[in-house]
Amino acid sequence: MVAKRIVPCLDLTDQGVVKGVHFRHLRQMGDPLELARRYEREGADEVVLLKVDAWRGRGLSPKLLARTSRELSIPLTVGGGVGSVEQAEELLSAGADRVSFNSLALERPQVLTEAADRFGRQAVVLAIDAHREGRGPATVYARGGTLREGWSAAAWAKEGERRGAGEVLLTSIDRDGTHRGYDLPLLRAVRRSVRIPIMASGGAAGPRSFFDAFENAGADAALAAGIFHRGECTVGEVKDYLSSRGIEVRR
């Protein structure tokens, strides 16, 4: 069995680690290196570094990435404003294990294929930011949730898989920072449309949210930021809970 992954996420701006609500009202959360180290000690299975403001400015600093990667002996996935396959290659050689594509993949879906051919599917993550209007299916947004695209999340995930993505990082903009739990219907819809692993994101409130994403929506990994940064719960506590409820996690 593959253990379910608990993945702390560091949302970065030029000012450091931040956390907001619905992708806005960003607040400072601390030093990325220190947080990453703490999460590995607590038992995190992977760390995600996302440069959340890259679409309007600078991308992830290779120097910061190299420093973080040197400190960690667990996988590191990075993303945010990745603008080309060459840039992805730079990030991989600076110490990332996997690179996530979002806006660029929407503009030029073939980058997923190019990246998969070059680095292998397992290194290519398709990040999808989804927002639901009314009762319809969640639709996909680019550029940090500011630009509406024509795709439903499920259809875009399927297309991304066909093009070469090895995992979907699925974020609910509606749930981001709200403590309302992951968007389970959104996860289920994407689960039905792809075979590659899915990482749930947006809305984690506590250990129970992780359980629901794994047990009731078929997620393979679940990402959280605020609850870990603020110390509302630790990765270890989430794992204790999951394990007590019969979910396999790495101990």
Partner: protein, 204 residues
């Protein structure tokens, strides 16, 4: 201990390099063309496809084969383990053929196998490689293909969706890991340390 890490395309040998350095190896990074045959220990990184990797190793193929025969420690990681075999379903290319058999795709429809899975020890095998690593330890995998079952030398096997595959092998001086030791937390650290210690002894 000096360990030669072969520079092959798109490998995340950056992280593997740092993993080896953390265990006090002096890492000598060189391309397959630069392999002389005098290296003391060799590591093949591999976040790559069988075809790409076998093509890039072609200039060093006969030298590497000769070195392994002469007892030089060589460890292949992920696709670097797969390329120790002759061929792969993944695509054309001639492996190093140091072990016989063909690399196959995992049976499950849902691939890649991505994430942390357990290592199950095989009786009496892999004593050096697995020294200090507890039965059932977790390691990080990211792959869609697997090496064939081995008559001997499978240090560990791992299960993915009902299929058992060799996840670490130790054939004397020839070692292979399907998982990524550089990101497998303390389990990976121990395996890297074991390889360096073995290489040190072998080069005395």
């Amino acid at each position: 201990m000096k360990v030669t890490l072969l520079r092959t395309p798109a490998g995340n040998f950056g992280r593997l390099r740092r993993g080896l350095e953390r265990e006090r190896a002096r890492v000598d990074e060189r391309s397959p063309r630069e392999v002389t045959g005098n290296e003391r220990a060799v590591v093949l990184a591999g976040v790559s496809s069988f075809t790409t990797l076998s093509r890039s190793l072609a200039p060093a193929r006969s030298t590497l084969r000769r070195m392994v025969e002469a007892g030089v420690p060589l460890m292949g990681v992920c696709a670097g383990m797969q390329v120790l075999f002759g061929s792969s379903e993944e695509g054309p290319g001639r492996g190093l053929d140091l072990l016989s058999g063909r690399v196959r795709r995992l049976r499950a429809r849902r691939v890649p196998n991505l994430g942390w899975s357990r290592l199950a020890r095989t009786d009496g095998e892999g004593r050096r490689l697995m020294e200090g690593v507890a039965e059932g330890s977790y390691a990080y995998f990211a792959h869609s293909y697997r090496v064939p079952a081995l008559a001997q030398g499978a240090a560990t096997t791992t299960e993915y969706r009902g299929e058992d595959f060799p996840s670490a092998l130790e054939h004397g001086n020839l070692w292979g890991l399907q998982f990524h030791p550089e990101v497998s937390s303390s389990t990976g650290t121990k395996v890297l340390r074991n390889f360096i210690a073995y290489a040190e002894e072998a080069s005395r």
